[in-house]
């Protein structure tokens, strides 16, 4: 039973309004199914295990309107600085003027929502693992009910792209909500690096509720690097859903440093043997930022491996959440799984909730996980000071080293150094020079 019988769920009225902009029967049906799923599960509350540490009351009670303006300029200093073709969404809607679709190399296709093939439409099937409540994805359902446009990218079998593709989602306006929807389907043996930057065009407060899907066919190799740099007061909720088939390789890294409240949820499903999956990231929080990283890595087929390293630095009253689950199915023998979350707290009021979880139904596996929480160590600071480096500089060197250790997980060296620069810039403006 839905407890909120009498009153409507957050965003329910907006969904009705967003329906008006939907064209085409298929999309309409999809939205209706999304709405139904959303209404069935309801707004996440304390009872919902997966949302235990991330309270959405403030988001749910805030009044937003549907974004209507889809033009703006790219905030160049907020995105990952890389020279490569860009595909830009403004408030969830593809903006061809800001995008470089003409520069897209051969082998990659961008299909507008209105022209999707029947096969492409299957990408939008229900994302839930099962009907049980624990698999509910209320915010992803809300995205399905509300998205007005989608970015559907397909890389043909065997195509290897040397240059990355940069997908930029820009939030433009104040008190608005939008639902970016991105699908990247990578054909057999194809190779691609995707950068995903989420930024705000101005300091306006908005709610971006995104769903990003990656399908890796057999032998595909994908690097997926995400920057969450939403404007200061904004909300960012995202689900990244990844299907990894035989011998495919998925290298993911997320750097979260924007917004007032963010959730980066990743569900990677390894359905083919010999596949490899890396889900890494770093989170940087100051002020009263709340940053949630929730991951599920599901080993379904035999002989795959996964590696997950998250490292965060939290100052002021910032709060971090890390929930990481490795789920190994009975048939997934010879699984090799590693997971680690480390957080450095720079103030007494900063906080981290860490919940690593292993759920293993196969007997011949190697899985380990761990979590550490610490502060800057006086012993390290003194060692540097004893060599003439002053306290503040020593502190910066040690924090920088802590973070770069996580960023080093990124395989693509060019992207690695760009992200390193973004992190250093954030540390400088939010921790070092703000006193």
């Amino acid at each position: 039973m839905n407890i909120q019988q009498s009153s409507k769920l957050p965003f329910e009225e907006l969904i009705a309004e967003s329906f008006e902009g939907v064209t085409g029967d298929w999309h309409h049906e999809l939205c209706k199914r999304g709405l139904q799923n959303y209404v069935d599960v309801g707004w996440p509350g304390a009872k919902n295990e997966s949302w235990k540490y991330t309270n959405l009351n403030k988001l749910g009670s805030h009044s937003f309107s549907i974004a209507k303006d889809y033009s703006t300029a790219i905030p160049e200093d907020m995105i990952i600085p890389l020279d490569c073709p860009r595909l830009v969404l403004v408030n969830g809607v593809f903006n061809s003027e800001l995008s470089d679709q003409k520069l897209l190399p051969e082998g990659i296709a961008l299909t507008p929502l209105a022209n999707l093939s029947d096969y492409q439409k299957t990408f939008f099937d229900d994302l839930r693992l099962g009907k049980e409540i624990k698999y509910a994805l209320p915010l992803a359902s809300l995205n399905t009910a509300m998205f007005s446009d989608a970015l559907v990218l397909e890389l043909a079998e065997g195509t290897e792209l040397s240059s990355p593709i940069h997908i930029i989602s820009i939030g433009s306006g104040s008190q608005i909500t939008f639902a970016p929807r991105i699908v990247v389907n990578v054909g057999k043996g194809a190779k691609l690096d995707v950068i995903e930057s989420h930024v705000g065009a101005s300091s306006g407060m908005y709610f971006s509720n995104s769903v990003v899907q990656f399908n890796l066919q057999d032998g595909a190799k994908v690097g997926h690097y995400k920057l969450q740099n939403e404007s200061n007061e904004s909300f960012h909720i995202s689900l990244t859903k990844v299907l990894i088939k035989e011998r495919a390789f998925y290298d993911n890294f997320t750097i979260s440093l924007g917004g007032i409240l963010s959730r980066n949820e990743i569900q990677a499903h390894i359905t083919g043997s010999g596949a490899e999956c890396c889900v890494n990231g770093t989170y940087l929080g100051a002020g009263s930022q709340h940053i949630d990283n929730t991951t599920l890595i599901e080993h379904i087929a035999e002989g795959s491996c996964s590696r997950e390293v998250f490292k965060g630095v939290l100052g002021d009253r910032a709060r971090g959440v890390f929930q990481g689950k490795i789920l190994v199915h009975p048939d997934a023998q010879k699984t090799d799984g590693y997971q680690m979350n480390r957080a450095m707290l720079l103030s007494d009021q900063a906080e981290i909730n860490s919940k690593p979880e292993l759920e293993i139904y196969a007997d011949d596996v190697r899985c380990s996980h761990g979590a550490t929480v610490g502060e800057l160590e006086e012993e390290h600071i003194f060692y540097l000071r004893a060599r003439g480096i002053d306290r503040e500089r020593a502190r910066r060197m040690l924090i920088g080293a802590y973070i770069s250790d996580a960023i080093d997980e990124i395989r693509n060296t060019g992207i690695r150094s760009s992200i390193q620069g973004v992190a250093e810039n954030w540390l400088k403006h939010n921790l070092y020079e703000k006193k």
Partner: protein
């Protein structure tokens, strides 16, 4: 005139008095050895000189190059020319050895009003110093001391000393945990750095190191005080008789 002058130094750690009236003078270019049983306060003395927090001076004075050392922060002392080779060098994850050396070197240059070193020149300089200590480039690319053996950590301390060229080097049990080959290598490294404008305070439990690095003066520290001072023959006497003479509670 003395380079370092310690007068009636009393120091407490965690509220407990460890140093109970140390008097010591080091002239320029002199090498002094401080020997003593475990727990006698040798490392405490080295930390007090280096300016470690939590090592509180209750009484007495320390003058270094005519300056009141106690007025200076740890990093200022280092930049004034004091170098402590740690008994237990810490591992510093993520901070690359070469970066660490460059930061330290440049800090000293900035402190004395000079501009920072040219990166390429500095790299060459460090490599040449590292070579004499049999340290590979690869070690300098790694995070400071991370995964280093005991001997490698000690060599790394001496490398830092060779790069920073201090006026006063304090070597806290640099010999402990070294096998004979490593000991020779480290001693040679130290001896190369001997000069008339570099003084050294060599802290050791055993006389062994002093076979390789000959001190001008030897002091015995026990119960927080210098109990005896003498020439290098005092070290041999201690080697023969042990610290039994100093083991009872001091008067």
């Amino acid at each position: 005139m003395a380079l370092l002058s310690i007068k009636n130094l009393h120091a407490t750690v965690g509220g407990k008095e460890i140093l109970k009236g140390i008097n010591l003078e080091l002239g320029p270019g002199e090498i002094h050895a401080v020997m003593g049983p475990n727990g006698s306060g040798k490392s405490t003395l080295s930390y007090v000189l280096a300016g470690r927090e939590g090592y509180d001076v209750a009484k007495g004075e320390i003058v270094f190059k005519d300056k009141n050392l106690l007025d200076l922060e740890a990093d200022e002392r280092a930049n004034e020319g004091i170098f402590l080779a740690f008994q237990y060098p810490v591992e510093v994850p993520g901070v690359v050895g070469m970066t660490f050396l460059r930061e330290a070197y440049n800090a000293k240059l900035r402190y004395s009003g000079h501009k920072e070193a040219d990166a390429m020149e500095f790299l060459k300089f460090v490599r040449s110093r590292a070579k004499t200590l049999n340290m590979s480039d690869e070690m300098l690319k790694r995070a400071v001391n991370v995964g280093f053996s005991g001997g490698e950590k000690k060599r790394n301390e001496i490398l830092q000393m060779a790069v920073l060229e201090p006026e006063l080097a304090i070597l806290d049990e640099t010999d402990s945990g070294l096998d004979i080959d490593a000991l020779k290598l480290v001693s040679e490294g130290v001896n190369k750095l001997r000069s008339e404008n570099r003084s050294m305070l060599i802290i050791t439990h055993y006389q062994r190191l002093l076979n390789y690095i000959q001190p001008d003066h030897v002091h015995v520290l026990a119960h927080g005080k210098i109990q005896r001072s003498g020439g290098k023959e005092l070290a041999l006497e201690l080697e023969a008789n042990g610290y039994a003479e100093f083991s009872g509670e001091a008067a």
